[in-house]
């Protein structure tokens, strides 16, 4: 029966060909799969597959290149902005994007992040913030919330000892090289649509040479947070988004927050 209704005239949604058929290794409930899909759908809709080079990070999305059906390079931990810089400089007509997590972008790669943004490299930077180190087993991230328990902050993040959760998107928004900076989520369909719009604008603007376009996506990590996916989404709304407030931070070169 189920076979019979899978016919072209009944088709209302189809996975983009810019995602491979490889089964993703992400935990059920993780935002990465949705963010991958949103990004690849936009690249597909814009007809840019043959012009795109993406940079995968080290972290949970280290294997992003297995899922995104585009040419990709795997960068050393934190170095994606440096890798993207060189590719864009050497091939200015390409769409170049980085895809990084919070440890990669906001801890080990902070220097590369800031200098890439400061040079205003004409790239799209996608920053996935789940407030924890997922791949290595739930250790504290630069974006871990105050009091939040992780494997390396088992009694909760003590800001007096290890500093405050880092709002790096607000930081880089201050740099002249950054054309746009905004924060999104993917825990509701409406939020995904909003993210896709931001990704599309970021691609258009970076391709037009406006500067660095920076898109943060707050995502839940139910495994690392030790919750069910539903609980994790709720916890994210109640806690993470209180500190990392979604919305535009910089639009068309102007700070709006």
């Amino acid at each position: 029966m189920s076979q019979n209704i899978c016919t072209p005239e009944n088709l209302v949604y189809k996975k983009t060909s810019l995602l491979t058929d490889k089964i993703m290794h992400y935990c059920p409930g993780c935002g990465h799969g949705t963010i991958h899909r949103a990004l690849m759908e936009v690249v597909d809709e814009m007809g840019l597959q043959d012009k795109t080079v993406g940079i995968a990070p080290v972290g949970c999305s280290v294997l992003a290149y297995d899922y995104m059906n585009i040419d990709m390079q795997e960068a050393a931990h934190g170095r994606a902005p440096a890798v993207a810089t060189a590719i864009k400089r050497l091939m200015p007509d390409k769409l170049v994007f980085t895809y990084q997590g919070d440890g990669d972008l906001a801890a080990i790669g902070t220097a590369e992040t800031i200098h890439c943004c400061n040079r205003g490299e004409n790239i799209l930077m996608v920053f996935v913030n789940n407030a924890i180190y997922g791949m290595t087993g739930g250790q504290m991230a630069p974006t871990t919330l105050e009091g939040m328990k992780t494997a390396t902050s088992p009694y909760g993040r003590d800001v007096n000892k290890v500093g405050w959760p880092l709002r790096i998107t607000e930081m880089v928004a201050q740099l002249n090289g950054v054309w746009s900076a905004s924060r999104h989520t993917v825990h509701t369909p409406a939020a995904v649509m909003k993210l896709k719009k931001a990704l599309k604008k970021g691609i258009e603007d970076s391709m037009a040479g406006k500067g660095t376009c920076f898109v943060e996506v707050c995502s839940s990590c139910n495994s690392g947070w030790k919750m069910t996916p539903v609980e994790a989404n709720k916890w994210m709304e109640e806690h993470v988004l209180e500190y990392f407030v979604p919305g535009d931070i910089k639009v068309d070169g102007k700070l709006v927050r």
Binding site: N69, D71, Q73, E74, R79, T85, A86
Partner: protein, 358 residues
């Protein structure tokens, strides 16, 4: 007409890069090689050939920029000096693992640590035995004149692309800072995207419909396939060893003793050979041009007909190990070296030969 100039080694290297059709240089200033980027910035190669020159925020960043450019099939390079070269090791290991072609110039200064800024050769082990983590090798070229600082650039790119392997040019402060006559090579065109797609089909230049997507990576989560990859690298290294070892032999035909020295030490030893021959000592010089692969075959052959060798280095006994491995105990192998940025005088080498070797 030949293009003859008087140039510093560092400047000749930079000019040769433009002429070799290099697509991109990414670097970070450090003495004694900052003239490379200074020269490139001044020359505005973007107007001459379209070459990209970028001052990165660190050596860590610059080597990862090189990784990126190499992954796009471009001719890319960086230059640095010892502490900066240490910072680059992670990136170089990735480049070797991902089998990407590029050139790295290390104008060695005295170490360990922050050390001195004076000439040294104490990065020999790091250059020839790996340097970063994992089983890998770089092709290591050792220029001993400003002319070779120029010539080894296009030769380096050819080797790097032939074997899909990074090439390290190991120089020192003497070669980098000294001005000598140099005949510059004619301009080579940069590669077009069409040529890159054809010559380096693995390059990430955008997925076309007629091929699968290209991935540049050094990650393999499966031990079995990682072992297979490392064995494949080893097979390539054996080919390079068989085909690419190079050296120059000076006055070795009738020599009873042979000095082994590379880079500026080889220049000093040439003078020492002349001084010793004036005293009636039949001594020659074997100058490795490739440090890896080491010219073991030539050393081994000489070992059948000379009385002894002396490795002369601006380090404390590094290359001498490779000489000993090649000689296999057949004759004696002595060592003389200075370190920390001290350049030995030819007379010191003469004295060392007279007291240790004869």
């Amino acid at each position: 007409m030949e293009d003859l100039r008087l140039m510093k080694g560092n400047e000749a290297f930079a000019e040769a890069a433009i002429r070799a059709g290099c697509d991109g240089y990414f670097g970070y200033p450090i003495t004694p090689q900052s003239e490379v980027m200074e020269y490139l910035m001044k020359e505005r190669p973007e107007n001459r050939t379209g070459m990209v020159v970028l001052q990165a925020e660190s050596e860590v960043s610059s080597i990862n920029m090189v990784y990126a450019g190499a992954g796009c099939g471009k001719r890319v390079m960086t230059s640095t000096s010892s502490p900066g070269y240490s910072l680059m090791q992670e990136g170089i290991s990735y480049i070797a693992a991902a089998e990407l072609p590029c050139i790295v110039l290390n104008v060695v200064r005295g170490g360990p640590g922050l050390g001195t800024i004076q000439p040294s050769q104490s990065d020999y082990f790091q250059a020839t035995k790996g340097g970063g983590h994992g089983d890998y090798r770089l092709i290591v070229l050792a220029p001993s004149s400003v002319q070779e600082m120029s010539d080894f650039v296009s030769m380096g790119f050819d080797l790097a692309f032939k074997y899909r392997n990074p090439v390290l040019i190991l120089a020192d402060g003497v070669i980098g800072q000294t001005m000598e006559k140099v005949v510059l090579q004619p301009q080579r065109p940069r590669l077009t995207e069409e040529e890159i797609r054809k010559n380096t089909p693995w390059a990430t230049v955008g997925k076309s419909i007629d091929r699968e997507h290209n991935i540049v990576t050094s990650l393999d989560l499966q031990a079995a396939s990682q072992e297979k990859h490392v064995l494949h690298l080893q097979e390539k290294y054996r080919q390079i060893e068989a085909a690419e070892a190079r050296c120059e032999m000076i006055k070795c035909e009738d020599a009873e003793y042979v000095l082994v020295a590379y880079g500026s030490s080889a220049r000093i030893c040439q003078k020492a050979v002349d001084l010793l021959r004036a005293k009636g000592v039949k001594v020659g010089l074997l100058r490795p041009i490739t440090l890896w692969p080491f010219p073991s075959k030539e050393v081994k052959e000489l070992a059948t007909r000379v009385k002894g060798f002396m490795s002369v280095e601006m380090s404390l006994g590094q290359m001498v190990e490779d000489v000993k491995l090649a000689v296999e105990g057949k004759v004696k192998v002595e060592f003389f070296g200075r370190c920390g940025g001290i350049v030995p005088a030819p007379e010191e080498v003469v004295h060392a030969v007279e007291t240790k070797l004869l």
